[in-house]
């Protein structure tokens, strides 16, 4: 009876279970219920659903005659399905109302208490489907018939419950997925509008692949197994056989796995699901390979030969199906579209249990149902994976992301949003985002609610362009953010709220402002002389002039054009220096050789200049041209700012720090105290009428400071208004021993002594970024101290008993000292010089940093892995040093490789310049040992390439060559920061010595 009933309902039920559309399921349910009851007795049918918010049962779908606003605040007193001939239960009577109360009814409670397919991650509550199927009949039922109908409705009810719960759950996950996907896309848009695309993608893919893989492992098909088990159980019962199983092929068709098994009178096979094809294949059961050995085992044609083979082994081995006495077996393929996923196997001990055509058809239908379940599980899993992936991305990105409802009240936030705003989630959730974050325009003026991106995103149903706003942080400070918003639409394209994505752009905006100011200043400085040049030229062209007047005009034009030209030259100089593109030609030079050309320039004023330089000063380590430029500028200032004449004194001496200290003193106007601090800034001139006649570009002192600091020296002034000024600067003297790059030797000391401490000092004025770096460091098993300014760093270091293992230093610091200033302070202080410094900056000033003795250089945004790697490298005692030898001579390569390998270097070799460049860019060796004379691309070209590419710009290069170098060639190599060793000088000790110098390896 039951089998027949189900067979009657088969197609619709299959349809029902296959659908993920709630409305469709509901309507089908009504039809099916009518099929059970209406042929006998006219009935009104309703499918009810428990509404959590209203806390009552409401109509999900019902016949048109059924009151659509029917609600019931009861849960029917019986747990199971019931037939009530005449409702008397007062609660039920009250709920049904007078019109329905006196009729007989079927009440089938529908309750799904567990997730159907997969448990939601993170222990979230999941919605349970709860409801009832209510069939109200206009006539009384004979008792016996009612029972059959009740059974059939109950069975239908259980399918409907499963289908609805599955559809609900799918809906929920799909909606969440759409929401997350919107968030991810919005974030994507913001990120791509302001970030380096390639980097962003690489970083995300790298990080999320791991999370994704874990997600895959967790979401295994446990729930699919339950669904399939139910199918097998029902099938075995319906078909009146003793056991059944569903087997699935693995994706590569190599394994067969039994996903579900049921037996009524034989004990279930132990661990049957663990069996796979490879095991079975090893069970060499002789004589069972032949198809004819198992009568009754008819494998469907869709199942591949290999699968049949292993399936048969499985059955003979574990179900002990023998040639005789194994009863009857029916096998059907489980197929989805054109693909065979697996098979359903039924077995009965009676050999004469023949399977009819109906049996075959029914099993085919069941197989179809199994295929739908498998496909749904796959779909569900795909959506879940995507959701988890999106969630992982949102949790790991550095940009703040939040969602709101339609009232713009915040409904969720990612960790970065809290980190950026410094609020706790509870401070923000449920509040209108613009109020909660104190959003105003970039100048701090209030904005009307209609202008807020969230409002516009919802109103215009599209993502907004990134705009800059000011927000109030929890700590009372304000920050500038770039914010975009986008509407969140669910799978049905209904907008349910907005997503906002923002990033802190306070620093970027500050840079933009300074740049604007600078451009405006430059434009002013250029336009003023330009106005004279153009104006006088026009007068010459348009007026009749006397010769003396003409001369005067042309002289003025010449003077102003000269000024313009100087200005442009100085401007380019300072740009080059600030960008770190200025290469310095450091050589050993006597101070006399620097002073002489300066005095030659001022021949006309020579009698005013007094020189007080002791004999036997040690030679300088400096770029003589740049020092001449600096000294000329200072002397010229001294003369210009002494309008009434007066002496200018140049003094040089060796100071306590063993630096050469050079002072230029005048007795002129002097500089007011309040102006002294800004004197070295670009275009700064003392605001005094008397000085305006003096001219100059306003860049001289800024350039001088750049030059002196690039040498590792300092420049400062002492002045009193009306008494004159003294400008003093220091320069390093030539160190004893072989030539070396300034600063590099300090790195060598770093590495040796400071491994006992695992504390890293972070100097970063963007505190949230600093903390972020800190958390990266903690993950890398370091501790950290964070200070926001150079001054505080100095204070901390001066009082610290244990010095930090390394310092991660930001360059653009707020306050009077920037990162370069701090770096110079650290490197010139004997107690601190040994601490390795890692520069983290958005500026690209590698060469400058290198010449100042930093240990490593990382550009922002920081790459976590690289940061930890770098810190480990600079703090480790015995780092592994990689050397790349580039030489076309096999013997030389071999010799160097052997010599260096013995000395614990890891050596790679390249036989040509091209190959060398490729390896250098790929492996970033610590040192490149380079031959000059090579065919096609010679060593000079290789060096030029290395120095012009970001990846290789700071790799030290040692030239080993037999070539006799000309002076200009030596200078070229020197400018490329290369060491030089002639092949005749070459000894294993010498090359090691050079390597140690260049990579800073401790002896």
């Amino acid at each position: 009876m039951q089998v027949e009933n189900l067979a009657h309902l088969d197609t619709q039920i299959l349809d029902l279970l296959g659908s993920l559309d709630i409305n469709y399921i509901a309507i089908q349910t009504l039809q099916l219920a009518h099929a059970q009851s209406s042929p006998l007795v006219a009935a009104q049918i309703a499918l009810l659903q428990w509404d959590v918010t209203a806390s009552c049962l409401c109509v999900l779908a019902a016949d048109p005659t059924f009151p659509q606003d029917f609600t019931a605040d009861l849960k029917f007193p019986t747990a199971g399905p019931i037939f009530v001939p005449h409702p008397t239960e007062p609660a039920l009577v009250a709920a049904l109302g007078p019109g329905l109360a006196n009729q007989s009814l079927f009440w089938i409670p529908l309750r799904q208490s567990r997730p159907v397919l997969a448990a939601p991650p993170n222990n979230e509550p999941f919605p349970l489907f709860e409801g009832a199927l209510l069939v109200i009949c206009s006539q009384p039922w004979p008792e016996g018939q009612a029972q059959v109908v009740l059974d059939n409705l109950t069975r239908l009810g259980s399918y409907v419950t499963t289908a609805l719960a599955k559809a609900h759950e799918y809906q929920r996950v799909a909606n969440e997925y759409f929401k997350l996907e919107t968030m991810r896309k919005t974030w994507h848009q913001l990120w791509f509008s302001v970030e380096d695309k390639q980097k962003a993608i690489e970083r995300l893919l790298g990080r999320n692949q791991a999370l994704h893989d874990i997600g895959l492992a967790i979401n295994s098909s446990l729930d699919l197994k339950e669904v399939l088990t139910r199918i097998v159980n029902e099938t075995v019962k319906m078909m009146a056989v003793t056991r059944g199983a569903i087997a699935l092929w693995s994706e590569d068709n190599q394994d067969i796995r039994i996903l579900a098994e049921h037996s009524t009178n034989v004990p279930a096979t132990q661990n049957l699901t663990e069996i796979n094809f490879s095991e079975v294949a090893e069970d060499n059961l002789a004589g069972l390979d032949d198809d004819n050995q198992l009568p009754g085992l008819n494998f469907p044609s869709e199942i591949s030969h290999e699968a049949v083979h292993s399936l048969r082994r499985l059955l003979t081995r574990y179900w002990k199906l023998q040639a005789t006495g194994s009863g009857s077996t029916l096998i059907t393929a489980v197929r989805w579209q054109k693909q065979t996923l697996g098979a359903i196997i039924l077995n009965h001990p009676a050999p004469d249990r023949s399977f009819s055509k109906e049996d075959h058809d029914l099993l085919n239908l069941i197989a179809g149902q199994a295929a739908v379940a498998i496909e749904n599980a796959r779909l569900f899993k795909a959506v879940t994976d995507e959701r988890n992936r999106s969630r992982a991305i949102l949790n790991s990105i550095a940009d703040g992301v939040f969602t709101t409802d339609l009232d713009l009240k915040i409904t969720s936030l990612n960790p970065a949003a809290l980190q950026l705003t410094k609020y706790a989630a509870s401070d923000l959730l449920g509040r209108v985002y613009a109020e909660a974050l104190g959003i105003s325009d970039r100048d701090g003026k209030a904005i009307i609610p209609e202008a807020s991106p969230g409002f516009q995103a919802i109103k215009f149903r599209s993502a907004t362009e990134p705009r800059i706003f000011q927000i109030k942080l929890a700590n009372g400070q304000s920050a500038l953010i770039a914010l975009v918003a986008a509407p969140i639409a669910d799978s049905g394209d209904v907008i349910s709220g907005a997503v906002g994505v923002f990033r802190d752009v306070t620093r970027e905006q500050e840079v933009v402002r300074m740049k604007d100011e600078f451009v405006s200043l430059v434009s002013h400085e250029l336009r003023t002389p330009m106005a004279s040049v153009l104006g006088f030229a026009e007068l010459i062209l348009t007026r009749k002039l006397t010769e003396s007047k003409l001369n005067l005009y042309v002289e003025t034009i010449h003077k102003e054009a000269q000024r313009l030209s100087n200005l442009i030259g100085d401007f380019l100089d300072i740009q080059r220096m600030e960008d770190g593109r200025q290469l310095y030609n450091f050589i050993e030079v006597d101070f006399d050789l620097v002073l002489r050309p300066v005095l030659d320039i001022f021949t006309a004023q020579r009698e005013r200049i007094e020189v007080n330089v002791p004999e036997n000063l040690p030679p300088l380590w400096a770029d003589p041209d740049r020092i001449v430029q600096t000294l000329t500028n200072l002397v010229s200032n001294a003369i210009k700012y002494s309008p009434k004449g007066g002496q200018v004194i140049i003094v040089a001496r060796l100071n306590q720090d063993n630096m050469l200290e050079i002072a230029v003193k005048d007795f002129g106007l002097g500089i007011p105290q309040e102006a002294q601090g800004q004197l070295f800034s670009k275009f700064y001139r003392v605001d005094n009428t008397d000085r305006r006649e003096i001219g100059g570009t306003g860049l001289g002192l800024a350039i001088s400071r750049e030059i002196i600091e690039a040498h590792g020296g300092k420049i400062w002034l002492d002045s009193e208004l009306g008494q004159g000024s003294t400008f003093t600067f220091t320069l390093p003297i030539k160190h004893s021993g072989p030539a070396q790059l300034p600063g590099l030797s300090e790195i060598a000391q770093n590495v040796s002594s400071l491994t006992d401490s695992r504390t890293v000092l972070i100097v970063e004025d963007n505190v949230s970024l600093g903390r972020l770096i800190g958390t990266y460091l903690e993950e890398g098993d370091f501790q950290y101290e964070l200070v926001p300014s150079a001054e505080q760093a100095i204070q901390l270091l001066d009082h610290a008993e244990i010095l930090p293992a390394t310092i991660v230093l930001d360059i653009g610091l707020a306050g009077s000292m920037d990162g370069w200033d701090l770096l110079i302070y650290l490197k010139t202080n004997p107690r601190l010089a040994a601490i390795p410094i890692i520069i983290s900056t958005v500026q690209d000033n590698k060469v400058r940093g290198l010449s100042l003795g930093q240990a490593a250089y990382l550009s922002k945004p920081l790459d976590t892995r690289k940061l930890i790697e770098t810190i480990n490298r600079v703090t480790t005692n015995q780092p592994q040093r990689n050397i790349l030898v580039v030489d076309d001579d096999t013997n030389v390569r071999q010799l160097l490789k052997e010599t260096l390998t013995v000395q614990d270097f890891v050596v790679a070799t390249a036989a040509s310049g091209e190959q060398g460049l490729k390896l250098a860019a790929q492996n970033r060796p610590d040192v490149v040992v380079l031959d000059l004379m090579m065919p096609r691309m010679d060593g000079f070209q290789v060096l030029a390439h290395l120095r012009s590419h970001r990846e290789t710009i700071d790799i030290p290069v040692i030239i080993v060559s037999a070539k006799e170098l000309t002076h200009s060639e030596r200078e070229y190599l020197h400018n490329g920061l290369a060491f030089f060793l002639t092949k005749s000088e070459y000894t294993p000790q010498r090359i090691r010595q050079l390597l140690e110098q260049s990579v800073g390896l401790a002896e």
Binding site: R527, T528, A531, S532, G535, T556, T689, R692
Partner: protein
């Protein structure tokens, strides 16, 4: 046609530009006064009461905007015609010049012929 000779004050801290303005206006027999900074410009405007001032914006001491504001705010000097000269061409400068009460506005570099035309036009009114 005999008109009283107009007095023009040229206030600019750049020697070359002051010289250029003087040369541009010289042929028309105006009486030319010169000031090298904002404070001197204000002082001369108050004591000499010129007909017109060519006023540079970026000067040491009082800026051109400040000088203009002070002169226009004082009934005794409010009638002096002020032409503002600036090296910045930004709109904000023009707005600021208008706000400070300047009558006209000229951007460096300027054409002497244009300046001359403007001055003649302004003085004929």
């Amino acid at each position: 046609m005999e008109q009283p000779q107009a007095t023009i004050l040229i206030a600019d801290d750049e020697d070359a530009l002051r010289f250029l303005a003087c040369e541009t206006l010289m042929d028309d027999s105006y009486q030319i006064l010169e000031a090298k900074d904002g404070n001197k410009a204000l002082e001369m405007a108050q004591s000499q009461h010129p007909t017109l001032i060519l006023l540079d914006v970026a000067m040491p001491g009082l800026t051109g905007f400040e000088v203009c504001q002070l002169l226009k705010g004082d009934p005794a000097t409010a009638d002096i015609i002020i032409i503002m000269l600036t090296a910045h061409g930004q709109n904000s400068d023009r707005e600021q010049a208008e706000a400070s009460g300047a009558d006209h506005f000229m951007t460096k570099p300027f054409s002497p012929a244009q300046l001359l035309r403007l001055v003649e036009e302004v003085l004929q009114k």
